[in-house]
Symmetry: D2
Subunit: 362 residues, 4 copies
């Protein structure tokens, strides 16, 4: 039982390698009647695309996308939506230099250990190019959420030691797309960009943190005891390439707090029950409580560096590996739309899962 599907009701299944003919996704379970603007999907893909700025990889991937099914006369029909993104760059390159080598902290060795074979061209299925399919599907999920007034945001919160001190609700999200780093604090954005350029010049890479924020989520989403909303969000984020950690609400910092500080007192505003603080991160007992949902996603430094490293090859001999070509010095700017996509897919799924049983009570 391979793991290329995500979601239970709003369910995506992806396929494709970085250097094959193409990659794609099927969305099964999308309700009918959602207006789909193809340009919106393309715009989302553009936010993830290589070559968009000086601080990301300069590879060219035009992301030629084709909507094959599930949409008729501009609206979803309720049948599966198939999308393919062709690899224009799929020409036969020379991979002889890494063909039988295991690049450190890449998935070369583990794919070989698992499958007894691997597509050695540019990482194959383990390439981050796979996430383009997630972003395309996530665009449809966002359109679904929009009907419910749920919005999904993400931004860069940390690059190496450079970390925002402001909380998510002290920032102006309109600034996110103003800079290539996607950090809404413009001064910090500049510092992060400078830092990444230095790292890049050194042939090295650096990690970072992306913060995700979901607004407008109604109370009631999440399916205890295992499919708690934050547990599925966590899995969604941890499934993104290079992700090393996930925390929501007070997160790891919360462990230092006392219950008397950490508890979020309830109040009533108009007809709505709210909490005066939000250490819970919008989720209590695995179910959304109507407050903002926010979380942090940790990304390690990219494994491909332009420096020589020791490793072994398939025969177990010691070899030297040197990254070449055009790789990201830091994943976080391009991870922002991916975090948003996975959050939107998780929310869309839980929204529909909740619909299944809610119908009864209306």
């Amino acid at each position: 039982m391979a793991g290329n599907s995500f979601g239970q009701v709003f369910r995506i299944t992806t396929f494709g390698e970085s250097h094959g003919k193409g990659l794609g996704v099927i969305i099964d379970g999308c309700p009918s009647g959602i207006e789909v603007d193809e340009n919106f999907i393309l715009a989302e893909l553009a936010r993830r695309r290589p070559g968009q700025s000086a601080i990301v990889t300069q590879r060219k991937e035009p992301d030629k996308m084709e909507l094959l099914s599930g949409i008729f006369e501009g609206k979803t029909t309720g049948t599966p939506i198939g999308m393919v993104i062709y690899n224009s760059d799929a020409k036969s390159k020379d991979y002889a230099h890494i063909k039988d080598k295991f690049r450190p902290s890449h998935a070369d060795y583990t794919y070989m250990a698992k499958y007894g074979t691997r597509d050695y061209r540019g990482g194959g299925r383990s390439s981050a190019r796979e996430t383009a399919a997630r972003v395309a599907a996530g665009a449809i999920a966002k359109l679904l959420l929009k009907k419910y007034n749920i919005s999904v945001h993400a931004y860069v919160n940390q690059v190496g030691d450079l970390k925002l001190e402001k909380a998510y609700n002290e920032l102006d999200f309109n600034n996110i797309e103003s800079t290539p780093i996607r950090c809404p604090d413009l001064k910090m954005a500049e510092r992060m960009i400078t830092h990444i350029k230095e790292i890049k010049k050194a042939g090295d890479t650096i990690g970072g943190v992306v913060t995700g924020v979901i607004r407008g989520c109604p109370a009631g989403l999440g399916e205890p005891v295992f499919d708690k909303l934050h547990a599925d969000l966590g899995k969604a984020m941890l499934s993104i390439n290079a992700c090393k950690g996930f925390e929501y609400g007070s997160g790891f910092a919360g462990v230092r707090m006392r219950g008397s500080e950490h508890n979020d007192p309830f109040i009533k505003e108009g007809d709505t029950v709210k909490t005066t603080t939000n250490h819970s991160g919008g989720v209590q007992g695995g179910i959304s409580n109507g407050m903002d949902i926010y979380f942090n996603v940790a990304f390690k430094p990219v494994a491909t560096i332009i420096q020589s490293q020791n490793s072994v090859n398939e025969a177990g001999e010691i070899v030297e590996v040197t990254g070449k070509g055009r790789h990201d010095p830091c994943v976080v700017p391009r991870a922002v739309p991916i975090v948003e996509a996975m959050a939107a897919l998780t929310l869309a799924d839980h929204l529909l899962r909740n619909n299944a049983i809610m119908g009864m009570n209306e």
Copy 2:
């Protein structure tokens, strides 16, 4: 589609509330031929049980467990294993004081928002008592993993500000069960215990971190791109009550590192490919690489405090809520066996998932 099942091949489904007749679990997909020692299950349950020491809740829950099916002549038969744990304490108590109140940072409000009703007796399904079923099932998973020489460990790494400085591989796991706090550094254990007692005396609670370690896991487990091994481990942990975060390998600290430091160089030892460092935490590209798997799980302070708090009731009126009775001042000592159980369940599932396709290559 409710969320009370975990795992795809080795799959558990749990049921039961804290104050109903009982709770339990069905394991579906456990292979035949595994010797099951009922005493081992009971011993695992005893590690989770209230009342085991002065630093945990003094509630009495005898955990009368009954194995109903799936085991014949001491071995699993391959048919579903049904286990029930009866609530001996299910007598009608007086819950009038919280019946219609929403306790801060509990699941009272969200269950009501989702289901339009709730079992207000002691938290109902949202009670941590539900995890007893996980521990019972986890015991069977551990017995399965033992056949593959895979072992699962967990210990308390942090309580409030008291945090171990040693890494998991510098600690003597034989010390874990020596103290009620389950921290293998005995000096730190003493400090943690003292700290928790003070917190308890103040009617307050405190958070903490549990570290999990899996040894002997073969390379090849994990199902990219969504069901990566660490993504399923993360979901497993995040589904535990009070969990606020998960990180594996270098985790959130890894974001500050450069690729040149973070990458784990491959070497060959005898016939085995290893890495000289292990920032990857035993997982690369979502697939185990044969090294130790280690991870941290953050727990918030328990929401029930013996102090008066403001809140609202179902009618939206301002009310006062005061915890009473016998609650945990800190969940981590009792969370240790739960973290182990969820890790064992995740590994058992991925082991069998991998078997499904491996058969072909042998």
Copy 3:
């Protein structure tokens, strides 16, 4: 990935053997707010129970049932419903005579081939006693369907060569429970009963057909292209012990018809689109069309006969097998409530699956 769960949204998981401590079921995904009358569940179980009449097995199985969770103050809470039925008769009997023999057309050999072991006491998991858990869960499904005015009926249509000539809509369903054979044509019922008694006297068994009818099903249930409503109904029925075939609407007889006869013309009655004939059996393209859904389920003669038969034992030696004890001469009278239960479970699941996406369009 073992197969003891049925349904996607309204999902049951069963466990238990005929001669272990008990058997049971968890229902996960049942909406909250459904009133559950325990006596209704018991009444359904009584319809399946051995010993209810002279034409069924005289075994005693009191079906002591316990509702363990998911129901509070008489209503479902939305959390999993756990039910256990204890085997009062689980005392150690003498099974030495069949312990290592493979009874012809039983599951003894195949369970041994699959699992390398088997619970030889009375069939273990392959015993039809397992269906008691389905009937208990089906009772809850019926209560859910009732809220939507959907009713589920079944009756005996054929025993051996004795077959009703009347179609389902020419029969008075009020007669079904009037006779122990559960055939609504009272004259035919008498003939069937006489026939079964003769078969029984000869120490033999006979097959039969049960017809199922679902009324009040709204148009729109069913999930093409694989989870067509009739495909899931078919799987549900084929999963019942001794079932050999399933047909719906015109069924196997329909293959002899021409399109011009078989097509069901649409008309409009009031606000409702109907068809003037119903060869479609209430399902077109895998989706219910609002007309009655009807289907036939074929059951083979019970394998246990009171006659000596040749077989082999585990060592491969030729042995003689003679059924003894109290077995059903014909399964169909007791299969009626099981067919109803499986139909109700299928419909409840599809109703909720449809709710998941319908919410959007309202």
Copy 4:
């Protein structure tokens, strides 16, 4: 939760409409190392293709197929296999005459009832063209089964009243592809062809039965109690367009038999346990017993007839519907490869499901 996936471990998900840009399938869970001959897939598609003979529809569908992923250097890699079949014929035709009409016994009305919209061009998702994706995926499943020496066959057993008297094991399967009707009895084949031509000339259609046979299946496949091997085969067949019934082994005829005739006595031949008769159809208790698996699949007459019929339109007005164009007078000749494909997919899935737990016992 929409239903466009089939299988649990070897799992396919399909998408696409008859008149959109294309249709396709993702296979997730196919083991690595299987040699894939693209020509074999094309040959299987050719057997399903319209226009292949005088007794099938004369529509032209070139089935331009593209393998997008999951295969590298001629072998499967263990990653998802994506295949797209483009609709060369996707030009804008004039569908005005049926755009808002519900064709009798088609899925027009039910799709509209379910989704509130429909792709009216040639049936959209409900078109039998969707089965091309199944055949493509089934070809890969056949290649997997071949490694285990399991073969899958199907042939036409009945057209209208013309029914073979010989059992499957009295026929020469080499004759199946000799005639366009795919009936291995050549005399009957001729009569069937003549009959279909007459039906076609009358502008009418006729039903039929396809028999499926699986040889070489080892004992042990099938997952009781719900995912019995025959139950999943039944669902697979019932999910094919126009299918009205499924029976295996003795099937509906078995209901007339006595246990003493119907039971299959065990014998031992060499090291193998066999049965002297095979009323069980190769499956006992839901698990394969090593004997041939055989089953019948009933297909109704095609709904599109070249005759005028009364119906209603979306507004509920009475309208006249007349099929035009090039439709199949009888589906069974083209259903043969589809039945094979669905059988192969079911077996491949159960083989891998069994592998998951078998690993333990080896």
